[in-house]
Symmetry: C2
Subunit: 286 residues, 2 copies
């Protein structure tokens, strides 16, 4: 029997949130769907690169030819969960021209003057693009809930608004891929310690990260509510064990591959007369 590292076709399903999902008992150090360890994950990610690259180019070509489909990758996770690494090592595998990345921090004054989805709608990917949200509208039911930035009835009402909003996106042709990277409490502690230890990582550290860490249990509860209330058939959540960064990157690459494959795109038909153009070109010969 072959011991070749490989990725199970069921990986995506194994990561998908289903009825009764329990975050508290979720193993953040596991590697579901992967035959092989962390370095196998790294090797497989290189292979995924070629696959993703062609699929993405087809999506781009589709958009350039009047097509309306797009993909939106929503990345959520607490500090140090590895969102930046996903952008760098997974999204970085494809042509940057076909990608639009937006990160959502504390809302500006202008953003606060509008409803919480306003800034999100403005950042949606154009047809033919892969949009990436580094944090997203889910912050409005995570930090907003934990830090009581708005009254309970306001954040309470947002879960349904989010579901409606995403249904609208999907109906308009966007495949919505929702990913929550979940690190363990211990691993987060080690990653923060590394940022404090290494001068080349200081810029990634923010004293606010400790304040958030002190609210760990509240955040876990808020995430559980997100999974319970916004994992819909049209836009399910995928929860990724993220203590092993390389596994997490491979898993997200597979989710992207499947999202792109689900579009089932082919190269666009020429909208000009190929034979006539060949003649015109021939006539330019000097």
């Amino acid at each position: 029997m072959s011991k070749k590292p490989s990725l199970s076709h069921e990986l995506t399903e194994q990561l998908r949130v289903r009825e009764g999902f329990d975050l508290a008992s979720f193993d953040r150090g596991a590697r579901p769907g992967l035959k092989g360890g962390s370095s196998a994950a790294e090797d497989l990610l290189v292979e995924q690169g070629g696959i993703l690259d062609e699929l993405q180019e087809k999506l781009y070509a589709h958009g350039r030819s009047g097509g309306t489909r797009s993909v939106l990758l929503v990345l959520q996770g607490l500090d140090t969960a590895g969102k930046g690494g996903i952008v760098r090592h997974v999204v970085g595998l494809v042509d940057p021209q076909g990608v639009s990345i937006r990160s959502f921090g504390v809302p500006t004054e202008e953003e606060r003057a509008h409803d919480f989805l306003w800034r999100i709608r403005r950042a949606l990917p154009q047809p033919g693009r892969i949009g990436v949200f580094d944090r997203s509208h889910y912050e409005d039911v995570l930090v907003a809930r934990v830090d009581e930035l708005v009254p309970p009835d306001v954040w309470e009402s947002r879960y349904d608004l989010i579901n409606d909003f995403e249904a609208e996106l999907v109906a308009a042709g966007t495949v919505v891929v929702k990913v929550a990277l979940m690190v363990s409490y211990e691993e987060q502690g080690e990653r923060l310690a590394e940022r404090l230890e290494r001068p080349d990582k200081h810029w990634k550290y923010n004293p606010g990260d400790i304040d958030t860490r002190l609210r760990w249990d509240d955040y876990q509860e808020a995430y559980q509510a997100v999974f319970d209330r916004t994992s819909t058939p049209h836009a399910p959540w995928h929860v990724i064990p993220a203590d092993d960064k390389r596994y997490a990157r491979l898993a997200v690459s597979q989710l992207l591959v499947e999202a792109l494959e689900s579009l089932d795109l082919d190269w666009p038909q020429a909208d000009f007369d190929v034979a006539a153009e060949k003649e015109r070109l021939e006539a330019t010969r000097r």
Copy 2:
């Protein structure tokens, strides 16, 4: 003596436009500064990737820590010159999070209602970013001149306006890297033929490309004027022989490396008390 492929430190200087530069006699199949052939260029580009990656991360860290420097890569070239390939294979070497890519096509109605630099100013990279312009304000003295989209006195006045604008950018902390990719007439013909031959390339073809090809000599003249009038000490032009795509990519990667090195950035100093934060983190241990 070693036959190892290598890149000369003088490559950049060899490509820089100087007094008396003559586009008509420029060899578009040459590989100045490269010891080795096309496949050597490909190997060296992989090495450049690691160098670029770290330099770009330092720039990003700088921006995240209140720094104001940025890099703007201006890409010009006729159809099929390889601008898209530069974005994909060179810009694609770095973290997409630190890059903003804008391509400038036919101006929209809103853009036409403003002066020609209006849409350009709105697309400038934020501090800490590498901005990439796929076509740029130079279209306003290229296609605008060749196709007489504006009267001669209008495009005539633009060279000085462009120089002033770029001087302003440089004074504000942006390194401006101007790159013109130059293919030969024959090579352009072959690349257009390939786009017509291969159904997976049809989407890249536009019948307008032949119209532009028919104005080849006018475009060469317009490019010569661009080099004569806008290659300034603060923002010089680099003309890249682009018949060999792999050489062109390597050359542009080297220009980017040098631009980033010229910023001479180090990792930002912590703006918090490292020892105190270590204690706060330690106190979160469970």
